[in-house]
């Protein structure tokens, strides 16, 4: 966990008081909606279809139980008793009153939570691996660097009015759980031949209307130079990024138009002039941040405790354990994923009561710590293996033990037409229907790892391009249609999915997905071949045939 100090707390409180004043000026009419819009966005407040929506930052997806309880409180007190965890390791509340927002922010500030820059054309919440600090084989805890970047980019006086929003993601593991290749800047922590720690820097990735995989701009930047390097990239982007057309304003377009070589020369030129300046990170500064991350006092525990051996006789427990429990870097501990994807439920939703209960379980079994992943699930990062059976029973009672993590019903979906003013089509009901179709666990397990991602419009909040199966809502003559792509992925082998053919109407989507899955089962070369690998080997043709032959 990271502990905010007096300076961090002061800054958050100052921000709350500024926003209270801004809301007051808006309510009195002193600020026009146009002037206020940018200010509210910088505090995570959207105006949606039915109400204001409030997006709260969960930097690098780490929460304490106290913080989670406070999020539950906000859901209960100012909203309708629930919250929605998103692909950006944020939580959103969909029904909040403008006049309540300063109080909600103040309640959150009490426990070191804020909503700064969760929207607007500035640096967004820095995201990272939800298993950071506990994943076996990690170079080091990437959250130390995420936190350094979080601080540096918060209320940055040069980069708070960029051409467009800006997102950074960091990973320190070989297996990329942070989707760094589809971010404006992706950072991969690794060690060079001399054993020094630094970053591979990728730039210009992103989804949305014009999807791109990020390109490597520098294979290695030392940790101490990472702030100046990021600042150089941003300065080039701030000056040359397009502002004439919001669809072309993201850094990916600048990188694409200039070409990565020319862009990287510009950045290097800028960086050279900043070299050795105030942004070079002193070893002691990094260590100071590191020292404020605390790690649990792990016990020395057996690799295979008796409790686990006994519980193995229960097939339901075993099914959940195989699906939801991952290895931990410390012997005797595990990382447990809590599925927020029950059959028939909206992906990522949690009730205030569930949040409170998860906070209690975290106190009991995970040293008071919770993680939020970009797949819209939660995790308890430090569970002693001997506690797994008890934890499972408790989660099951809460509806949080659906054994479908990474399976076909672990669907990522944006809010779509149910909440979002930009949507062309519904997302949530499609996800709900698919979870019902594939509710049979044995079938789902036979299918294996398969990610379905759904977005209600081209903005790609549901990451449809990088879903193994991607579903994108489009509108045709006032009706909801869906384009289907296959073969996308967001990990270290990230790529965009390929379209399989014409868009299909709402009523047919679930059938089409079933056809695709059946085709895969018939086409895979062995039970272990993943869906994406089969698509890679065979291309989209055989799937297209299967889907459109009968339609």
């Amino acid at each position: 966990m990271y502990a905010y100090d007096e300076l961090d707390r002061t800054l958050i409180n100052e921000r709350v008081s500024e926003f209270r004043d801004q809301v007051k000026r808006r309510l009195s009419g002193e600020l026009t909606e146009d002037e206020f819009k940018m200010l509210r966005l910088q505090n995570g407040v959207y105006l949606q279809l039915h109400a204001y929506m409030f997006r709260v930052a969960i930097p690098y997806g780490t929460l304490s139980s106290k913080q989670l309880r406070r999020l539950a409180h906000v859901g209960r007190r100012y909203d309708r008793g629930y919250g929605h965890f998103t692909t950006r390791q944020n939580i959103q509340f969909n029904w909040i009153k403008l006049s309540d927002l300063p109080d909600a922010l103040a309640d959150l500030a009490d426990v070191g939570i804020h909503a700064m820059q969760t929207s607007g054309n500035n640096m967004r919440n820095v995201t990272s691996d939800q298993w950071a600090g506990v994943a076996p084989g990690e170079v080091e805890d990437p959250r130390i660097w995420s936190e350094i970047l979080r601080q540096h980019t918060t209320l940055h006086p040069e980069f708070s009015f960029l051409p467009r929003k800006f997102k950074i993601a960091i990973t320190a593991s070989e297996h990329d759980r942070a989707a760094i290749k589809v971010h404006d800047i992706g950072l991969r922590l690794h060690k060079n031949a001399d054993g020094e720690t630094g970053f591979e820097v990728l730039v210009g990735g992103g989804l949305g209307r014009t999807p791109f995989i990020g390109k490597t701009i520098k294979p290695f930047v030392l940790g101490r130079d990472i702030l100046s390097y990021v600042e150089a990239i941003l300065r080039v982007y701030n000056q040359y990024g397009r502002r004439d057309n919001i669809y072309k304003a993201r850094i990916k377009i600048l990188v694409h138009e200039l070409g990565i070589e020319k862009f990287s020369r510009e950045v290097d030129e800028e960086w050279k002039q900043m070299d050795g300046g105030g942004l070079t990170l002193d070893h002691s500064v990094v260590e100071e941040v590191r020292s404020r991350f605390s790690y649990p006092p792990y016990e020395k525990l057996p690799h295979m405790p008796d409790e686990l051996k006994q519980a193995a006789a229960d097939p339901l427990f075993e099914r959940w354990r195989k699906n939801s429990v991952a290895p931990h870097k410390v012997q005797g501990y595990s990382i447990v994923t809590l599925s927020l994807k029950p059959v028939g439920g909206p992906p990522g939703d949690a009730t205030a009561d569930q949040m409170d209960a998860v906070a209690d379980l975290a106190d009991k079994y995970s040293f008071g710590e919770i993680r939020v992943g970009h797949e819209q699930n939660l995790a308890l990062p430090h569970v002693a293996k001997r506690d797994l059976p008890k934890l499972w029973r408790a989660l099951d009672r809460l509806g949080l033990a659906t054994p479908n993590v990474n399976l076909v019903t672990d669907i990522i979906a944006c809010p779509g037409l149910d909440y979002c003013s930009l949507a062309n089509a519904r997302s949530i009901p499609i996800a709900q229907e698919l979870t019902r179709r594939f509710a049979n666990h044995d079938t789902a397990e036979m299918i294996g790892r398969l990610h379905i991602n759904i977005s209600g419009c081209i903005n790609a909040c549901g990451h449809h391009h990088v879903g193994h199966i991607g579903i994108l809502g489009v509108e045709k003559n006032g009706e909801e249609f869906y384009q289907i792509t296959i073969g996308g992925r967001a990990d270290e082998h990230a790529q965009m999915g390929e379209l399989i053919g014409p868009a299909v109407p709402y009523a047919e989507v679930a059938d089409v997905i079933e056809d695709i899955v059946e085709a895969y089962l018939a086409l895979r070369d062995r039970p272990g071949e993943l869906f994406v690998d089969t698509v890679k080997r065979l291309g989209v043709e055989p799937f297209k045939e299967r889907v459109y032959a009968t339609r």
Partner: protein, 171 residues
Amino acid sequence: MPLVKNARIATDLFVHVADGAELPGDGDVLVSAQRLLDDPETLLKRPGKVGVVWPNNRAVDDLVPHLNRLAAVALVFPSFRDGRAYSQARLLRERHGYDGELRATGQVLRDQFVFMVRAGFDAFDVKKDADADAFAETVKRYSVFYQPTGDGRVAAFNRRMQLRHSESAGQ
């Protein structure tokens, strides 16, 4: 548009001279970038100070050779959403050592003052009277800053190190 300078409302001593219009015989003038670059010598020879309005889509490199003879540089915020002038301001102050008046013009609102001050602006063509009145109060809103900039305030990373040192010295 009230001008705020040295944290209080001030009179603008610069006369804005449109391109093509005749220059007054003396007094301080504010001219366009093009006018400055077309004939810097004539401008700088006349009695009175010279300031320039530099557009936000032109690299400040072209301005640098004239900097030490200019009394004011006005940078432009065509809308409050367009933040290019923040980069220009920091480059002028921190990289090129410009220490004359650096003026923010255009859509200059209260909620940007802190950012502008930190980027190096010290004069503001404020859009609304009420915002100009609130200047002194508004810029005091924050006492903690995460990034080092040319305004000389100690950023949080370094303040913590200082706090640590003074704590250990006091023990």
